[in-house]
């Protein structure tokens, strides 16, 4: 397939997942912060912006909402990630099911009517639309190379987001609400509770790192990324091993983790790097980047 299409499918998957991840995170942080000790709010705001890689500083929950909802030009914010969804979807519009394209427009409309004064309902709206878009993609998009790139992007973004979430240590910072908030921020509370064990900070970290039954755990997202990448390599008659090395190594570290808390910390810190390396390797292998050519006399 065309490299450009492959690349847009990949980034469509990543940005969709990112929009969802940041939305959930903001929703939960907002809940946490408006009930918090006054002296603690600035630190709470700083944690989220730092974790998302944003330079701006928020003073209270409302400015935090404005910063993280953000602007089109910053892909680390909700608006920016949505902009990424739209522009990538547009460039491969002909290959996407029309229902999906329509759902993206509706998603965008939901974001347009975002009201920073009541972020709760607005974010819930966006999350609802995201669920519809993802659902339509699952039902209608043909299971071809393009969808493998889409899913690959989604899985890598998941790993990145979950490791960012874990590095915030919400569940240690807010002893009482933190563990449940961390789980809600990735939609994992119900799955966690199915195991019928009490919520503790340690269990929550462990769960998000290596629970095989939760699709967003680092372990499971890594495994899904590997499956998609092997499919792509098979179609292109090439080997995925070199590209897979960073997340493959991570996967085996998680597999043999046991109860080593320090190793958990190392894994969390290493994940965004492994994702970046893999992403770069995919780019070189399949998207055939060329330097931008500028003609001049």
């Amino acid at each position: 397939m065309l490299s450009r299409l492959a690349e847009s499918s990949f980034w469509l998957g990543r940005y969709l997942e990112r929009t969802e991840g940041i939305s959930r995170l903001l929703l939960e942080f907002h809940q946490l912060l408006i009930q918090d000790q006054r002296s603690h709010i600035a630190r709470g705001c700083a944690l989220l912006t730092h974790g998302l890689g944003l330079e701006m500083k928020a003073q209270n929950s409302q400015t935090l909402v404005e910063i993280v909802f953000g602007e089109d030009s910053n892909p680390s914010t909700i608006r920016g990630a949505l902009q990424g969804v739209r522009s990538n979807a547009r460039s491969i519009r002909d290959t996407l099911p029309s229902d999906f394209f329509e759902s993206i427009n509706r998603l965008n409309a939901a974001a347009e009517s975002f009201d920073p004064k009541s972020p709760g309902s607005s974010l819930k709206n966006i999350l609802d639309r995201l669920a519809v878009s993802n659902g339509i993609y699952e039902w209608l998009a043909p299971s071809d190379e393009s969808s493998h790139f889409f899913k690959l992007g989604r899985s890598l973004e998941r790993m990145d987001l979950v490791s960012r979430l874990l590095s915030l240590k919400i569940e240690k910072e807010w002893r009482d609400q933190g563990p449940a908030t961390t789980l809600r921020a990735v939609g994992g509370l119900s799955t966690f509770l199915k195991a019928r064990v009490p919520i503790t900070a340690e269990r929550v970290r462990h769960f998000l790192i290596n629970d095989p039954s939760f699709p967003r755990s680092l372990f499971e997202s890594g495994r899904m990324a590997e499956i998609s990448l092997r499919e792509i390599a098979q179609v292109n008659r090439t080997s995925a091993d070199t590209i897979l090395k960073p997340i493959g190594l991570l996967g085996s570290q998680i597999h043999f983790l046991g109860n080593d808390v320090e190793e958990e910390e190392r894994i969390i810190a290493r994940t965004p790097l492994a994702v970046e390396e893999t992403s770069e390797a995919i780019r070189t292998a399949f998207f055939r980047p060329v330097g931008s050519i500028v003609w001049s006399n």
Binding site: Q37, H40, H50, P75, S87, N88, S121
Partner: protein, 522 residues
Amino acid sequence: MNALDEFLIDGIPTRDLEMLWETIGKIGTHGFISRAKQRDLYLSMQGITFTLSGVERPLPVDLVPRVIAVSEWQNLERGIKQRIKALEAFLADVYGDQELFKDGIVPKALIQSSEHFHRAAHGIKPANGVRIHVAGIDLVRDQHGTLRVLEDNLRSPSGVSYVLENRRTMAHVVPELFNGYAIRSVDEYPERLIAALIAAAPSGVSNPNVVVLTPGVHNSAHFEHAFLARRMGVELVEGRDLYCRNNKVFMRTTQGSEEIHVVYRRIDDDYLDPIHFKPDSLLGIPGVLNAARANNVTIANGVGNGIADDKAIYAYVPKLIEYYLNEKALLPNVDTYDLKESDQLDYVMSNLSELVVKPVAGSGGYGITIGPKASKKELEVVAKEISTNPRNWVAQPLIALSTIPTVQEDGTLSPRHVDLRPFAVNDGKEIWVLPGGLTRVALVEGNVVVNSSQGGGSKDTWVLSDETQAPAPAIEVAVLESDPLKSDVVPQMQGPDVLPISRLHQQEEQQQQSPNTEVKDA
């Protein structure tokens, strides 16, 4: 008799509430109408419901919170702990050596005539001594501002799930009200409860299996049962899921039988064990009481606790506190007439139209007659019932319950009567009181019965946190050692579409030009 408003004194908010009052003013009538719609939608989407007369509906949470000052809360907390400690001692005594009868503290006949006194519970010794694992103490504020205990709920007090959900709902629907306030969190309740239940397990069990026992989905509080089971991470079971063999309790699972060590039951004593109580109960577990007696399972709350929250025993609680703890009661009762004493009975019978009369065994606000509001005929009926069996009734003077501004259907505010039910959890070492509790509000003007089973609503209840005393709770040294803020900012990756703006525009312009070219060519 004028009720006291907790929020406004002569129309002016008390000091703690100035900022809140200002924000409420900013939201305004129209604001409250639209927020109320948002709230109803949120509650039904989340499935936060209460079943009233068989119909599932959201438990309405009013959009104006109740605020409790730090100092008042500290007194309240101490008073509640004291009360529960005394009632624990009382229960241990009644179902054990019965020293209190020898000392003449409470008449033996009063205890033995209570329908909540269960001989079957005699001699069951809980492993960690706790019978009141969870308590809900109902308080009202009288016209002088004093908080008084209206009744103790020591069987299975419900409503705690709404306390947790109300906070989330408020943060979702009216976030701006929180601006400038630091409020103590309520979210740790499930963790406290599971810890207390684990601590209550029979001795020698290292990893106890805890379940929540519900009557089933048709129970009014089923949402709460499911909520607690989920949040505690334990199984929600019905009676038919459990059975007893060899004085042990087992749960039927696809992998065979699994032994149960602690049953947090949300069904009444009467239905708990058909062998000892109602023989036709379909909700209970035949033999569970014998298993408890054999110390193979702990039933929480304890069987027979109803004797301690019997409305006739209630009048004796201050006396019990002195007897068992050698302390004066910190929280006053509402004056209660003992209708077995003939002079008090005479007084009540001739002043019925000014008193509140309650059945001693009732709960949920059923069967209460409010003298000033009752018709002549209703009063006659009550008078007849009292004279037939005075033991079944108590009478209290009518208290003008305090009010708090409450949002009406048209978006305006109007004072409505409230009560307060703080929840306490006893793990055998410490009694922990959930900051705040459930504030129930009578939504109908002038109504003083606030029970949710009588169509009442609720309010989010804020206990302000004392920042000078309590440092931001969870910044522990361990966290700071590897403070996430000290690490480098890792920017998120960008896709190829985010070109420098100038190049992007250039590309756009060129792309826009090409159709024109095509038209010319054609």
